[in-house]
């Protein structure tokens, strides 16, 4: 298993490297092929691990969509498309959350992310739109090192997860959660009792971010003015 995993992930790294913006169109196509192959094998592996019949297909589907969307986000040369693929990613994750019986959270995710955050992103992208693809979108930065380091990290993470889940695998499946699992009540009660201080702090943080964002955006940018030195 480890060697296989390493091989797959290395393959993925190579594929991603090829697929990242910068090269010619055909090399990118090759990259996509490699990525697809790696993805397929990985998916098969993962599916093997998921016991039971019911969620297996759904999980596989969502996972596939999620990974594909993620890949497109980082490889697409047009920012608008990246953002749109990100929305796809959100939906995939939402599906996975539903599988994990976190219904409230999944809805919250869609509303907040897809509905609010991403819309902002798209606005900003529009604001900074240029007629032709910008050079910095066309050429990526140090893709070799990035992919290498990233996938090294991924391999190590995977190994770590595996190592530490081995004993857990032997334990029986946890009992199904209560009826009200994932509902607003189930999440809301601890949120407003146990974590009340934390939620206040989060609120404060949001407020601060709001104020900060306004303060930053209001500032008139005067290009290239040296900061005032009193030396």
């Amino acid at each position: 298993m480890p060697t296989l995993l390493i091989a797959i992930l290395t393959l993925g790294a190579v594929g991603l490297f090829l697929a990242l913006p910068g090269g010619r169109a055909d090399t990118r196509r090759v990259g996509w092929v490699v990525l697809a192959a790696a993805g397929a094998v990985l998916l098969a592996l993962l599916l093997q691990l998921v016991p039971g019949a019911d969620p297996r297909g759904l999980f596989a589907g969502f996972a596939l969509v999620a990974v594909f969307a993620a890949l497109r986000v980082i490889t697409h040369r047009k920012p608008v498309y990246s953002a749109l693929y990100f929305i796809l990613l959100i939906f995939a994750v939402t599906g996975l959350l539903v599988l994990l019986e976190a219904t409230f959270l999944s809805m919250a995710l869609v509303i907040i992310y897809a509905g609010a955050i991403l819309v902002t992103y798209v606005f900003v992208i529009m604001l900074a739109q240029q007629s032709r693809p910008a050079p910095y979108d066309v050429k990526s930065r140090e893709p070799v090192w990035g992919c290498l380091a990233g996938f090294l990290l991924l391999i190590l993470l995977a190994r770590q997860i595996e190592l530490f889940l081995v004993p857990a695998q032997r334990t029986p499946l946890p009992a199904p959660v209560a009826e009200a699992a994932g509902t607003i009540e189930a999440v809301g009660v601890p949120l407003l009792t146990e974590y009340v201080v934390a939620i206040q702090i989060i609120g404060l943080l949001l407020l601060a971010a709001l104020v900060g964002a306004i303060a930053i955006a209001r500032r008139r940018a005067t290009p290239r003015v040296e900061s005032e030195g009193d030396e």
């Binding site: 530490f164 201080v197 009193d230 030396e231």
Partner: protein
């Protein structure tokens, strides 16, 4: 009421600093007045507390606290529910906001509260840029300084101790002289590096104290740690070294003093005044308050070494003074020399020496602070502090000459002025000390000779001789007069009065100070001296659990092994931090 006053004393300047920061641009000119008002309120509060001290001592014993406030601040660890409701920390670390003033710290607080308004007032004409920030930092510094003296919890002390660094860093770094950046950084790094080691020592001490007291809660309580028994002498020696690192740099003891002349030279007048007047005392106060009673054996073990350093500082500082051309640097080196006296008295381990040492702290704060003020006033007019460029100012500025002379004389220990009382008692103690001995006294006494040499050299250069002024001076464009203005006289006059008053009536301080020292420190260190004397017969002193915590289950401290597998281990968070509200709840019925 007392507690309210003390907490106001600590927190009011901080609040005022925030308010001043928030002042709109067009109201910026109210910042100096506002901060002066706050400073005066602080002075009144401090004096009020001072007046309450004798009564408190009378009813509650020599180590009575004025304005005692004790509430839980941060508690990290496992909590247990009490049957009657509420929770109590059973295992972990407890930091308390415990403040109070006793006869040892109160004189220093009053000194601080006196010097703060004066240094605010002396900045009115000297500081022209970024005034709001300046006064805000000054007030923030005040909080730190008063907090340090008021803290009854070692960690709280440390917090305030470090809190003083930041404001002064900015005060020097922004409003200082030409080399201000370098000076500020040097000052900060120097003192910070030392105090980090002290922090390690503090933590070790607290953990060991918990172990020795069979207590599962690590507490930094001053009383608890000051009455600890059972540390081995090796431990004490090392702990003393840890204290030494932070405090000796702050004092500063010879050879760790090199940050001081630079910091003083570059700092604005108010910064110098507070640095010399109060901040250096943090080091000596730290030694007195913590090093001596907490690790008495260590202190006795290191006493000769400390005495040696103090002596070296006295002589070295004095000789360095003599060849300085920058008068501010001269006064700065004189601080090195003077604080050598202070340390010499402290490590004589005699009651008279300790009392003299505290007195020295106050007196040095008054006279050296005043000297810096005077030098600042000269600088404001002549834009130079070079002794070779100034001369004969007595004819130009007779009032300034009077004050300068008075404070210089106080600084060289003229009898009848405050410096003498402390210098004399300190030297007497060093001379009579069994720990230090004759030669320390003899060599220390050369300081009174050298002190006269350098101080009169400075006075002679500036005040006497034919008139010498740099071209285009005095600069009176900021509304100053040739001689001192009424505002400046009002700044110096209280100091002058105190210089004389404490010279003829030092008992204003010592009457309450001596019993407190006896109860809290002298007894401890003299025990240690005895132990050192009959080291052959030494037995391990009995463990006396002196803390009065409720006896809950004595849970064994979590060891490293227990913590090893946290990731795979229990999933529930071990450390939940709680922002404990009222003291009663957190104390759990203490």
């Amino acid at each position: 009421m007392e507690a309210l006053a003390l907490n106001l004393l600590i927190l009011l300047p901080l609040a005022a600093a925030v308010v001043i920061c928030l002042l709109p641009e067009r109201r910026a000119d109210t910042a100096p007045k506002l901060s002066l008002g706050v400073g005066l309120v602080l002075l009144i509060l401090a004096l009020a507390l001072w007046l309450r001290l004798p009564a408190a001592q009378h009813t509650r014993g020599p180590s009575a606290l004025v304005g005692d406030t004790d509430c839980a601040w941060l508690a990290i660890g496992d909590r247990a529910r009490l049957p009657e409701g509420g929770t109590i920390l059973v295992n972990g670390v407890e930091l308390r906001y415990h403040v109070g003033l006793d006869a040892i710290s109160l004189p220093l607080v009053v000194l601080t509260a006196l010097l703060v308004p004066l240094s605010i007032a002396c900045s009115f004409t000297a500081i022209r840029t970024r005034t709001r920030e300046y006064y805000a930092w000054l007030l923030a510094l005040t909080t730190g300084m008063i907090g340090v003296f008021a803290a009854r919890d070692l960690l709280l002390f440390y917090v305030f101790f470090e809190l003083t660094l930041v404001p002064l860093y900015f005060l020097i770094g922004i409003w200082g002289g030409p080399q201000r950046r370098y000076a500020a950084t040097k000052f900060f790094l120097y003192t910070f590096v030392g105090s980090v080691i002290t922090f390690a020592g503090i933590v070790y001490l607290a953990i060991r104290a918990a172990v020795l007291n069979f207590d599962s809660v690590i507490s930094f309580d001053l009383n608890l740690l000051s009455t600890l028994h059972g540390l081995t002498s090796t431990e004490q020696a090392w702990l003393f070294f840890a204290f030494f690192c932070g405090f000796a740099i702050k004092v500063p003891l010879f050879p760790l003093h090199t940050w001081l002349p630079l910091a003083h030279t570059e700092a604005p007048t108010a910064g110098s005044v507070l640095l010399a007047g109060v901040l250096l005392k943090l080091g000596t106060y730290g030694f007195l308050r913590f090093a001596l009673p907490m690790v008495p054996d260590g202190a006795v073990h290191w006493a000769t070494f400390m005495g040696g350093l103090a002596l070296a500082g006295i002589i070295y500082g004095a000789l360095c003074c003599w060849v300085q051309r920058d008068v501010k640097k001269l006064v700065a080196y004189s601080s090195v020399s003077h604080l050598g006296f202070c340390m010499l008295g402290m490590f004589s381990i005699l009651p008279v020496g300790l009392s003299g040492s505290v007195l020295y702290m106050v007196n040095h704060g008054l006279s050296t602070g005043a000297l810096f003020l005077v030098v600042g006033m000269v600088y404001e007019r002549y834009h130079t502090r070079d002794l070779d460029q100034l001369g004969g100012l007595a004819r130009q500025m007779p009032i300034l000459a009077f004050f300068f002379m008075l404070f210089a004389l106080s600084s060289i220990g003229l009898p009848g002025l405050n410096g003498f009382v402390s210098e004399f008692t300190v030297l007497l103690a060093a001379f009579n000390s069994d720990v230090l001995g004759r030669w320390y006294g003899v060599l220390g006494a050369t300081g009174i000779l050298l002190g006269a040499v350098y101080m009169l050299y400075a006075v002679g250069q500036i005040l006497f001789g034919p008139l010498k002024e740099p071209p285009q001076t005095p600069d009176l464009s900021t509304g100053l007069k040739r001689d001192l203005t009424p505002r400046e006289i009002a700044i110096l006059a209280p100091l002058a009065v105190l210089v004389v008053l404490l010279g003829v009536a030092p008992r204003l301080i010592t009457d309450t100070l001596d019993p407190a020292l006896q109860a809290q420190i002298v007894a401890r260190v003299q025990e240690a001296t005895q132990r050192a004397d009959d080291i052959a017969l030494r037995k391990a002193p009995a463990n006396e659990p002196t803390n009065d915590k409720p006896e809950t289950e004595n849970v064994k401290l979590e060891t490293d092994q227990d913590r090893a597998g946290t990731f795979a281990g229990s999933y529930s968070p071990v450390f939940g931090f709680s922002f404990a509200g009222s003291p009663a709840e957190a104390d759990g019925g203490r």
